[in-house]
């Protein structure tokens, strides 16, 4: 599991890679939080394109970043969710708090 961070004006993009579970969530969390508290962006985009697996730890990860960004008056967007990651994420009702975008190729599927 790894996270690559890119800064673009007032926006930070976190590209996640690999499996997200209770074991891997902690280091991702601290890396993202470090850059947020340093840069204070107005938008955090979490990109799930290279996420191979996610359990409910991923929900906690997004929810925690949402709270942090909310304190700073910023927004969170979650992008490129695979079908299986979307299935877990949608259980949480997160779509009411955070904009969630599926992967391009899965938008046309009936699921």
């Amino acid at each position: 599991m790894s996270v690559e961070l890119k800064k673009d004006d007032k926006k930070i993009i976190a590209f996640l890679k690999g499996d997200i579970d209770h074991h891997t969530a902690a280091p991702i969390r601290s890396k993202i939080d470090e850059i947020i508290s340093l840069q204070k962006p107005s938008l955090l985009i979490i990109d799930f394109n290279d996420v191979s697996f996610m359990d409910s730890s991923g929900i906690g990860l997004v929810l925690g970043r949402y709270r942090l960004m909310n304190e700073l008056g910023g927004k969170v967007r979650v992008e490129n969710l695979s079908k299986s990651v979307y299935k877990v994420m949608s259980l949480s009702g997160m779509d009411k708090l955070v904009e969630i975008k599926k992967r391009e190729e899965e938008k046309n599927e009936n699921n």
Binding site: D21, H23, D55, I59, G60, V88, L91
Partner: protein, 143 residues
């Protein structure tokens, strides 16, 4: 219903073993030729149950996690994930979505994920003795 194949696995309750547990169980179930979605459902449910043992049952201390997987002749997989940890005081409450005792960043959705991704989820628990979670799923397989 007859068991056609079975495996047992004992693991240290270290968080690094979460991925080993879900991947090895899915490798064992692969003989039923499950769909990508079925594999992903089992992986996710197992990950939740094993994480519960580590975070809740043993509270980040070291203990054993006992896993058995049985495959039945009607293509049903039954996975038991057992610990000898602290036990759950109120199972019904623990299974409620968003209920969590640890705070922090646990979403409180572990059992909700297990229940929505598996056909059956059964929880037996005794204080100071341990918890056993039984997960069951029928595998339709790829046609």
């Amino acid at each position: 219903m007859k068991i056609t194949n079975q495996m047992r696995l004992t693991l240290d309750s270290r968080s690094v073993n979460e991925s080993f547990a879900r991947v090895s169980i899915c490798a064992f179930v692969a003989c039923l030729d499950p769909t990508v979605e079925e594999i992903s459902d089992i992986k996710t449910a197992v990950s939740e149950a094993v994480t519960n043992c580590i975070v809740h049952a043993y509270k980040e201390e070291l203990g054993n996690i006992y896993i058995t997987v049985a495959i039945y002749d009607n293509n049903v997989v039954r996975i038991k994930i057992r610990d000898k940890g602290c036990g759950i005081e109120n199972v019904e409450q623990a299974m409620e979505p968003l209920f969590t005792t640890v705070g922090g960043e646990r979403a409180g959705l572990g059992f909700a994920v297990m229940e929505s991704f598996m056909d059956k989820v059964k929880v037996r628990s005794k204080i100071n003795s341990g918890t056993c979670v039984t997960l069951e799923k029928h595998i339709s397989g790829r046609e």
